[in-house]
Assembly symmetry: C2
Homo-oligomer: 356 residues x 2
DNA sequence: TTTTAGCACTCTCGGATTTAAAGTGCTAAA
DNA sequence: TTTAGCACTTTAAATCCGAGAGTGCTAAAA
């Protein structure tokens, strides 16, 4: 009865919420007696026991063994998080804290993300991360060069998403400022807006004949491939790794090893975040997704938008019994601040029809 | 008697060596009986017991408790490593492996270091790291700019040690290619070879009046400070973090947390490596140095030289009972390869008296 | 004088046993 | 429908015990 939302009576919800929160705080299974004593529950322990038995049979709770208290199941956490998503809020103090931390003005996404992972970690006390997701079909829109000395110059690549990458190129042969100007001119003519696999031998031959130095073209092409790879390869910054250790869940087990490995390989986490749609905060609890790595962990993240497109994400990773309320609120605000920072009207679009 | 070297008789050295190696392999205390059975020791267990008792009173061995075997003390490891340093060698197979892994041609120190830490980790099976040490008194020798669009350009800084850094600068006001040329010209005239604290208000005022855009100068100066900070701030790349977990020494304890923290803070490890002199492989065992972080760990690294100057280091970190022979040999070779790579004659010096 | 064999002693580790605590499910009463 | 009470289960901690390993010491052998 009274099951208009999620199939649970109000009292069941209340009990589930109380159990999740108690377990988040203490890390131990929580029993009926504890709930009657310390909480806003007005019924007796026996009643709660009955309700808990039902919640368990519905899959929201688990019992490590007979006569331990109950622990939320992954489904239980999920329900809690979903319910929470509608109502979380931050204290004014915490918002002020975020604002202050973000005052460190940052101008480039790469460095924003780096700081953001640190901030996320320090605010939530979990391991923080920031990500620039893979995105196929990014190409180079424009090439620039800058002469450095007789044997080296800088190649600047402006990508279709606005990011700018540079490469330091060193060559055997003597070069002149004229040489590098030629390089950028030729590149701008031949290699614009091509995918990595569209750059074929004829194009390279043409480049060589026009620049007149095969080794140089070689070095340049290698850099271009590298940059193209980086552009859609995604980046992952992690900070506060040591915070994982404060939770007994990770004290010993191999889960910690899996997480560390995942942070180094990056692919799993990049995939997970890249495949996600939507603006709000996402929570991946246990192995909900196909990524087995985060088996007994929770990954919470919020996408970051710039000009309507997802350009990154920030999040935290921690044990199943994560302080969801706090994390959700923090990420929501932090993500909002970063999005705002990115969209400040200092950097106008290049003007597609306004410039020609 | 017969204590010409290190104050130990030859037999004591042999026993110490056998104990260290047995303990490295097995991870357990080693007793006198084990040594007589499996090793090249020709005397009886009783004799070994006597020698071990002496080695212990001299500080080279420790006993976890009465009637466990002996474990090398930090001093014991140190002696072993010092003795080893004179004679280690690699198998041809391992050298071939290094050479192949380094075939991935790399052109810049930053990226060399990144790969190097991975290679070091995968060859030794310990956590690898690569470092670019702090070095005071690096200044910017030359500025270049490249126009990107009406609101952004690239600032290129060529440092006195030859490294090149770039910064993407975004400004509110409209700019032209002429503007950015002015910027580099003025910078090249006023801000060359200055330390961060030598850039004072008069210079900035002069810049503003010449460039004519205070906000732009502001952004530029901020980037310059950042780059100067990075140049002498050092960098630390770590890879194979998860390998730490395979050693029971780090399975549970807080040592792991300290290490993870140290890798994130970077300062401790940077200081440690930056303060070291000499070409060869260095081993820091336990808390030999003032860095308390690596209390129950060993850090082994080899400096990397370019044109006679130390420009970085590669190393590994692991438990006290590290396979020193293997690690020392690997790092020696790997470091040598990188040094060679850096000094390949493709990149000649800018020619101090040869060019003018 | 140095090495070895033998033996008593100490200590830890693993397993088995016990005890205390916690929590449940169920029944019967309110 | 809720509550009180109670018997039952199960775990975690404490205790005990014996086996095993290794030592130090003493006395004999080289």
């Amino acid at each position: 009865m009274a099951t208009h939302n999620g199939g649970l009576s109000d009292r069941k919800k209340l009990i589930l919420k109380a159990i999740v929160e108690a377990h988040i705080q203490g890390g131990e299974p929580v029993g009926s007696k504890y709930l009657t004593e310390s909480q806003q529950l007005t019924c007796s322990s026996a009643t709660i026991r009955n309700e808990m038995a039902e919640l368990e049979s519905m899959g929201f709770l688990e019992q490590p063994h007979t006569s331990a208290g109950r622990v939320p199941s992954k489904q239980g956490y999920r329900f809690y998080v979903d319910a929470l998503l509608e109502e979380y809020a931050m204290t004014a103090k915490e918002i002020a804290q975020i604002n202050q931390l973000m005052k460190v003005k940052m101008s480039e996404l790469d460095r924003i993300l780096d700081s953001a992972s640190k901030v996320a970690s320090s605010l939530t006390n979990y391991t923080g991360f920031a990500i620039k997701p893979r995105s196929r079909s990014i190409t180079v829109n424009r090439f620039e060069t800058a002469f450095i000395d007789n044997h080296s110059f800088i190649l600047i690549l402006v990508a279709s998403d606005g990011t700018v990458k540079t490469r330091n190129i060193i060559v055997d042969a003597e070069i002149t400022p004229r040489t590098v100007t030629t390089v950028s001119d030729v590149l701008n003519e031949l290699v614009i807006e091509l995918d990595a696999d569209e750059i074929n031998l004829p194009i390279i031959m043409e480049l060589e004949s026009r620049v007149g130095d095969a080794a140089l073209v070689n070095a340049v092409m290698k850099s271009i491939y590298e940059v193209l790879g980086e552009l859609d390869g995604g980046e992952l910054k992690v900070s506060g790794l040591d915070r994982l250790l404060q939770y007994p869940e990770f004290a010993d087990s191999e889960d910690l090893g899996q997480l560390l490995g995942a942070f180094e390989r990056k692919e799993d986490i990049l995939d997970l975040v890249s495949d996600t749609e939507g603006d709000g905060v996402h929570a991946v609890i246990g192995s909900e997704s196909s990524v087995k790595v985060i088996n007994n962990s929770t990954l919470v993240f919020k996408p970051i938008k710039s000009k309507g497109k997802t350009v990154g994400a920030i999040g935290v990773i921690g044990p199943l019994r994560m302080d969801y309320a706090r994390v959700l609120a923090t990420l929501e605000n932090l993500g909002g601040n970063i999005t705002q920072l990115l969209n400040e009207p200092k950097h106008k679009e290049k003007g597609d029809s306004h410039d020609g």
